[in-house]
């Protein structure tokens, strides 16, 4: 009975040095920071904030489980509190990082050749980037919904033919229109595991489409950003 037990209410936070900032568009950037031994499963998120403040926000981990650094993909939200201040940071500076958490992970008990469809809006692509880089040989198709083609963040990280860029405002993508329209026209079947990540309107609509296509809710996993 007197065995040592772990104590909750201790959210481990630490200052991590910024190693690199890579700007992908005017508003979106990849923040690479020291890993400091943090362990995580692809799909989990960390809470990150500027070093001098008391506010943090959740960000999915963008880098791979085996990388010796951590990366997050951040879009600056106009009039937001945390994302604009993260954008102002420079390499050599620091961010506050809480330990990784979350359940938006791949079930390791599923067969190796399990087919996955990843559906992202905007920076919702981040956990999928981590899935793909962490697990070579993953059998997936990634649908990425953005407004303009320049938001195809690090598209060359994905194997040819597996990444479908859906652009709603121009025709520079593989498909002109929303991911929902693409999914309606190109059903992937009921034995696939679907992972949805991004804004809740997209996720809501995709749920409806998948339900119409006969997909069981057990096969649908969602991570809502906002």
């Amino acid at each position: 009975m007197q065995k040592e037990v772990p104590v909750a209410n201790k959210i481990k936070t630490d200052l991590h040095e910024i190693l690199q900032i890579r700007h992908l568009t005017d508003s979106t950037f990849v923040l690479r920071i020291e890993r400091k031994g943090l362990t995580f499963q692809a799909g989990q998120h960390v809470c990150v904030g500027p070093p001098n403040g008391i506010h943090t926000r959740e960000y999915s981990i963008y880098s791979a489980e085996q990388d010796d650094y951590l990366e997050i993909l951040v879009k600056e939200v106009e009039n937001g509190l945390v994302s604009p201040s993260l954008k102002k940071l420079k390499s050599g500076g620091f961010v506050v990082v809480e330990e990784p958490v979350g359940y938006f992970t791949i079930n390791k008990a599923l067969p190796k050749n399990q087919k996955y469809v990843f559906i992202a809006s905007g920076t919702g692509i981040s956990p999928f980037h981590s899935f793909v880089l962490s697990t070579p040989g993953l059998n997936y198709t990634l649908l990425h919904g953005v407004r303009h083609g320049d938001e195809a963040y690090d598209a060359d990280a994905y194997e040819a033919g597996r990444y479908v860029l859906c652009t709603s405002r121009d025709d520079s993508g593989n498909y002109k229109g929303r991911v929902t329209q693409y999914l309606k026209k190109h059903p992937f079947g009921t034995d696939v595991h679907y992972y949805l990540c991004g804004n809740c309107n997209m996720i809501h609509d995709v749920y409806d489409i998948l339900e119409e296509q006969g997909v069981s809710t057990d096969n649908i996993h969602a991570e809502v950003y906002f």
């Binding site: 009975m1 007197q2 065995k3 037990v5 772990p6 104590v7 909750a8 209410n9 201790k10 959210i11 481990k12 936070t13 904030g49 001098n52 008391i54 506010h55 943090t56 959740e58 506050v96 809480e98 330990e99 958490v101 979350g102 359940y103 809740c200 309107n201 996720i203 809501h204 749920y207 339900e211 809710t217 057990d218 969602a222 809502v224 906002f226």
Partner: protein
């Protein structure tokens, strides 16, 4: 009477600024703010740790408050809380030690403390899983904690910030604890935690733990307290058939609108919830499902609300805790813009309450004419009262000692009040 909060600040300007910001939040919340600990309900020490001397000063302030009779809530925050959390928690077991990153959540922590939603994580020995056996008070039902903290990050909830990361208690300690309370004479054990369906101790899942608990070779009733409907495996439903496991779950729904569930970042859909209820009722058509519902969440349209209202009847819920959504600072929902006006929230919550009472009466009526096993926990001059296996209150107009398990024939249902009891008589 106004609650009184005292602040003492050490160190830098930033600390002072943060104390001022906190103090003005508490003033807005209706607290009287003072700069010492005298007669306060809450005393906050915003510490500094730049030098050894500042450490000493910080400790002095805390000790001074305690030696001068401070018995209210004690919060130690600031840089010393970050650097010496373990030491401080050991030395001041009744204090909340709050890191700088969580400082802004102090108002929510205080609210949660007064609502008895939380206690200091380190209160008494044994950390969050401590259990003070209540042999003398001799209740009939013993709570055994299996888990603490939550990593779900629902947008309305402050718990992940104030309670911390999910941790699970080792199964051996849980099993020993249960045997111990059974030795004290408890006949019913309730397993509790902040998010118990996420129990996971070195790969041992909630269902696997449940299986081990049910295998304890003793005669007792097992209940599961409030649970999130988001990670049940087939084994869980299989175990629900076990005679020791009582046919009641408080399965938190929060809303029956799919889009509101997404905005809340709940980890299930209403469709999935309905399937779970169907599975449980297939095992036992009388299975008692009770729930929590939040009304007036930001962006809740009339259709969203109607979905929740309809669910109350459709799911034949045995009881509904209805909450009007209230903003908790530092949560994601607090930053949502389309908030609902208070009168509309009130109106919606009244409608849910009325529907819930109707559903509860309809649900309870089904037990008339049926035999129930009741664990008596109250005795007065007029009646004895206890809960059936379905967690429905039953009154008997006979004198029966507390902590007795009785077979009771149900012959009626009270007609008054929000929680009408079944009426029964001891059956042969």
């Amino acid at each position: 009477m106004k609650r009184k909060i005292g602040f003492k600040t050490l160190g830098c300007r930033l600390n002072q600024f943060e104390t001022d910001a906190l103090a003005s939040r508490f003033t807005r919340m209706g607290y009287e703010v003072v700069d010492n600990s005298k007669d306060t309900d809450v005393f906050v020490v915003n510490t500094c740790t730049v030098t050894n001397q500042s450490d000493q000063k910080s400790r002095y302030v805390v000790n001074h408050a305690l030696t001068h009779g401070h018995i209210g809530m004690l919060i130690i925050t600031g840089c010393m809380a970050n650097h010496h959390k373990d030491q401080l928690e050991q030395r001041y077991p009744n204090a909340y030690v709050v890191d700088n990153q969580q400082k802004s959540a102090i108002p929510q922590l205080v609210e949660a403390h007064f609502k008895k939603e939380i206690v200091p994580s380190n209160q008494s020995q044994g950390g969050v899983f401590s259990y003070a056996p209540a042999a003398e008070t001799f209740h009939t039902r013993s709570m055994v904690k299996i888990q603490d903290g939550c990593d779900n990050f629902c947008t309305f909830c402050i718990i992940p910030k104030v309670r911390g990361r999910a941790v699970s208690r080792p199964p051996q300690a849980i099993l020993e604890n249960i045997k111990q309370v059974l030795d004290y004479g408890y006949k019913e054990v309730v397993i509790t935690g902040v998010n118990i369906s996420r129990y996971n101790y070195e790969g041992l899942s909630f269902s696997a733990l449940l299986r081990q608990i049910l295998a304890i070779d003793r005669d007792f009733r097992l209940r599961i307290s409030s649970i999130e409907p988001d990670s049940f495996d087939d084994d869980f439903f299989e175990l629900m058939k076990h005679p020791k496991l009582m046919p009641h779950l408080h399965l938190c729904l929060q809303s029956a609108s799919e889009s509101i569930l997404l905005k809340m970042r709940r980890m299930y859909t209403y469709k999935l919830y309905k399937t779970m209820v169907e599975k449980l009722r297939k095992l036992n058509p009388l299975f008692n499902i009770t729930t929590d519902l939040i009304v007036g969440f930001p962006g809740e349209t009339e259709d969203d609300f109607q979905a929740s209202l309809k669910a109350v009847g459709d799911l034949q819920l045995g009881h509904v805790h209805t909450f009007k959504y209230s903003k908790r600072e530092d949560t994601r929902a607090a930053r949502m813009s389309d908030t609902m006006p208070e009168p509309l929230k009130t109106q919606r919550s009244e409608l849910v309450r009325a529907a819930a009472l109707k559903a509860k009466i309809a649900y309870r009526r089904q037990f008339i004419g049926i035999k129930q096993t009741v664990l008596i926990d109250t005795l007065n001059a007029v009646y004895a009262k206890g809960y059936s296996e379905y967690y429905i209150p039953v009154k008997i107009k006979q004198s029966v000692p507390k902590n007795t398990l009785l077979k009771v024939h149900i012959y009626g249902l009270e007609t008054e009040g929000n929680d009408p009891c079944l009426l029964g008589e001891i059956s042969a």
